[in-house]
């Protein structure tokens, strides 16, 4: 049996008195696209942040490429280089152009020489269709463009898995399509992805597995067919149909865009 690229066992995280994660376990296989859905405040973002230790879990184990990540001993930098992350608020570096944003990781973290890093960055910008915006600063880009640059920035580190934390929630509805398109292309290229999102069209069409997180635990997980059509739990069906009806972006449109 092939070891999954990511295995999370019994993850717990409290913030003060609030228990956010209460024993989350899941696996992600190489090449898989996993979409995490669930009500707000249920720890979806916290779960993603625990994977690359931007948030340090209270207990539980995370195995990446078959090796347990040891918070105290491991060089987190090396782990994080292999786990790309895309944020809801983009978090592009405001003082750098699009190209420099993409190049800074390879040049400062991987210590690739600057010319090579810039060449690499150009390639990644091309991949997200923004080669013509290379010299623009974040303040000069639309939300959708910012998010695509952020994806290119993560890709430039040549990650083994990409984490997306509600990548389209901060975008105006008409700008989500371009970001979802890029994400879909990545999925088709075989990129392993873990996506927190309520873009049901994307989940239905692109994902291999949907995880329904509620109350700090994995309430149900399964293929999109199962989750959408005949989930085990009444509650899952209720949530999915509510999101599909009222979701931030209605799924029929998301679906046709992709």
């Amino acid at each position: 049996m092939v070891e999954p690229i990511l295995r999370i066992e019994n993850l717990y995280k409290n913030f003060g008195d609030v228990e956010v994660l209460k024993g989350v376990s899941l696996t992600v296989e190489e090449g898989e696209v996993v979409v995490i859905i669930g009500p707000s405040g249920t720890g979806k973002s916290t779960l993603l942040r625990c994977i690359n230790y931007l948030t340090v879990p209270d207990s539980g184990d995370i195995y990446f490429e078959g090796r347990k990540i040891e918070y105290k001993q491991d060089n987190l930098s090396i782990v994080r280089q292999k786990i790309g992350m895309v944020f809801q608020e983009f978090n592009l570096f405001n003082h750098l152009t699009a190209l420099q944003n993409v190049a800074i990781g390879p040049s400062k973290v991987k210590k690739i020489n600057k010319t090579k890093a810039l060449e690499l960055a150009e390639k990644e910008l091309l991949r997200v269709g923004l080669q013509d915006k290379a010299d623009h600063y974040p303040a000069e880009l639309s939300g959708g463009q910012k998010q695509r640059v952020a994806i290119a920035r993560a890709l430039a580190m040549d990650p083994k898995i990409l984490l997306f934390d509600e990548p389209t929630s901060a975008l105006d509805p008409e700008l989500t399509g371009e970001v979802l398109m890029v994400m879909k292309d990545l999925a088709l290229d075989g990129m392993t992805m873990m996506v927190v999102s309520h873009e049901m069209g994307f989940a239905r069409e692109v994902s291999d597995k949907i995880i329904f997180l509620e109350g700090g635990v994995v309430s149900e997980m399964g293929s999109p067919e199962k989750i959408f059509n005949n989930p085990d739990k009444e509650r899952t069906l209720e949530f999915v149909s509510k999101i599909t009806r009222l979701g931030p972006i209605d799924s029929s449109r998301g679906g046709s865009d992709i």
């Binding site: 992350m85 983009f90 003082h95 400062k108």
Partner: protein, 227 residues
Amino acid sequence: MREQIAFFVSIFPALWEGLIVSLKLSAGALILGFTIGLPMALARTYGKGIVKKIAIAYIETIRGTPMVVQLFIIYFGLPDLGILIDRIPAAIIALGINSSAYQAEYFRGAIQSIDSGQMMAAEALGMTKKQAVRHIILPQALRIVLPPWSNEVIYMVKYTSVAFLIAVPELMARGKMIISWTFKPLEVLFWVGVIYVIVLSIIAKIVDLVELKISIPGFQMSREDHY
């Protein structure tokens, strides 16, 4: 009026020399203030335990006491410990230490105004905290700090006049000297004031030009927004 101008011309060379001293003092103080202030800001923002406490104590002590008192402690007081410092270096050290505390607070304010997502994104790329501060936080903070920092430049040029109290021959001291020769205090002070106003306007203009020159989209601010 013509008389006034003739008078100005006669005292100008002495005032000019004083102005040069004032500008040198402020440049020295600003550089010293930056050199101490930036590490203090980093220690106060990112330091832990004793390092952070020392930075806070330093900054708050300096900001809680008048600059003249600091100047007197350094120039008149330190000789009690066998440390003798000449007037001009003493003035630069006193002004520089004073400025460092204020600069530290400007830097700290700028650093804290940067969205926490910037640090998070840098760490997610695999940067260490040190790398993130150096490559991501500081380049932005130094841009944000420019408007309040340029006000500090103006403050320093004005506050060098305090050095006159330890007989440093800066602009104010020259003015006082000329007053004692000419017995025309109001005329002399008027021209001293005019020189300050002109010089500070020029400095303000230069600062604005520098800001414009290094501004990048998303970082526009103006000196006038800070007081």
